[in-house]
Symmetry: C2
Subunit: 138 residues, 2 copies
DNA sequence: AACTCACATGAGAATGGTTGTCAACAAGGA
DNA sequence: TCCTTGTTGACAACCATTCTCATGTGAGTT
């Protein structure tokens, strides 16, 4: 059984620069909400920088593996991506109405997670912590 | 945009008791790991209490809506269900090797989540907090 | 610049968990 | 027993994501 793979260490295997990845990265850098691969693919098409859907998926995965973008799953199982301001470990407070996202840190929650894991003898612990709510604009 | 629906309050609309739901509930009450709908469907078949796959899905959703079972998504997007010991709000520490699950509470983390939301002016806040690791049997 | 070659791309097919359809069933009140 | 209505199950349909593979393109090398 594998509920949550450990696919961490993705040593920087020289990725080749392409127009497609550049366009995607540029688009994401100017967007603050979490968007799905399909959303991004559509926006690229509107904008003229047409990129194949499979390529969007592949690059998003690569960028996520490299830690360049954050991923989370919507309630209906769709993956959504976002280019965050910091490379450091953090979590998100997302508006479920408009997608507005705030990056949050929680030293307390980090130590809590580590402590709980230790007390139960678990090792190689990772965690998923996301907050959802309704922002002030609603 | 809807990243995380608020589908909470599902007033107890009298659900009609059936052999199928009983078999499913019974199976889940004797299982401690998180299992997928397909896993459960297969186990029911082995055991003789054959139940249609669609029915398994429907009942799991109903049970989840009623708060009778907990749901979480595996890394590959599959929903997995578990009948927990308590009805009270809690989280999980799951072994990614064998699925062994420990129910954990975190008053500190609850207040942290609420506080972060308040500071950013978000309302109707919910959170997703799950811990994954490797248990002592590995 | 021409040559090479491994990596990247894209159009479309395939995958697979989940949901929809709808006729046959069955719980429970009249 | 009869009716009404929620429930079931076999199978089709959905749809996000992955796979396939022929073609394209970085970037060294000569
Ligand atoms: Mn953290
Ligand atoms: Mn909590
Ligand atoms: Zn909002
Ligand atoms: Zn284990």
């Amino acid at each position: 059984m594998t509920i949550h793979p450990t696919d961490q260490a993705t040593a920087g295997a020289a990725r080749r620069p392409t127009r497609q990845r550049a366009a995607l990265a540029e688009l994401m850098s100017t967007t603050s909400e979490f968007l799905s691969a399909q959303d991004l693919h559509a926006k690229l098409q509107e904008r003229g920088d047409s990129v194949g859907l499979a390529t969007v998926y592949r690059n998003l995965q690569a960028m996520a593996a490299d830690g360049d973008v954050d991923v989370l799953r919507t309630d209906d199982g769709e993956c959504v991506y976002r280019s965050c301001g910091t490379e450091a470990h953090h979590h998100h407070l997302v508006c479920r109405e408009c997608g507005r996202t705030v990056e949050v840190e929680g030293p307390a929650v980090e130590t809590w997670a580590a402590e709980v894991a230790r007390q139960n003898g678990f090792s190689d612990v990772t965690h998923t912590i996301e907050l959802f709510g309704t922002c002030t604009s609603h």
